[in-house]
Amino acid sequence: EPEVTQTPSHQVTQMGQEVILRCVPISNHLYFYWYRQILGQKVEFLVSFYNNEISEKSEIFDDQFSVERPDGSNFTLKIRSTKLEDSAMYFCASSTGTSADTQYFGPGTRLTVL
């Protein structure tokens, strides 16, 4: 069964450093998403991406965040200058398209900012 994959599983970084989290969505999916989950809290939407551009973003997704689909398979989330409060699990998700399609989530990357 196809699945969303994410690397690395755990990333430790120093405050102020840049990090890139990587995702390989399910191959025939057209919509891609990033969500995050701070420890013990709800899963929160960050951004959605379709047709090589951001289709929607939340208030959390400020100028420090960016997303990219550098090739036909990868989807990345970059945080330019990490802050302590960026520590969280980051989940990538993908869906085939249309508004009521199921979003399938990856296993997540745990980001720890020291």
């Binding site: 420890l39 709800k42 929607e56």
Partner: protein, 113 residues
């Protein structure tokens, strides 16, 4: 103020019993709802979904009920097994052009053998 962390509601059931997990959603215009299961250290795993034009949908051992009048969603798990132990989240998608999911607080299901 900022929330330090959520105290998850917990449902404790005996193996073999049926479980019912409830969720109150926020937006009467939401048109799509999903239940996800999240095991410790893993990503949300799709269980079942339902569109707003339905009030019930069944899967394998799971049933989702939607009551739009009171904005309530429930997940019923038949013959609960130890492997069902996890946090269960409901998520809603607001109607219109948005695709983002809004997740609920979550319920911890603890299955006692």
């Amino acid at each position: 103020g900022e929330s330090v962390g959520l105290h998850l509601p917990t449902l404790s059931v005996q193996e073999g019993d049926n479980s019912i997990i409830n969720c109150a959603y926020s937006n009467s215009a939401s048109d799509y709802f999903i239940w996800y299961k999240q095991e410790s250290g893993k990503g949300p795993q799709f269980i079942i979904d339902i569109r707003s034009n339905m009030d019930k949908r069944q899967g394998q051992r799971v049933t989702v009920l939607l009551n739009k009048t009171v904005k309530h969603l429930s997940l019923q798990i038949a013959a609960t097994q130890p492997g069902d132990s996890a946090v269960y989240f409901c998520a809603e998608k607001f109607g219109g052009a948005t695709n983002k999911l809004i997740f609920g607080t979550g319920t911890l299901l603890a299955v006692q053998p």
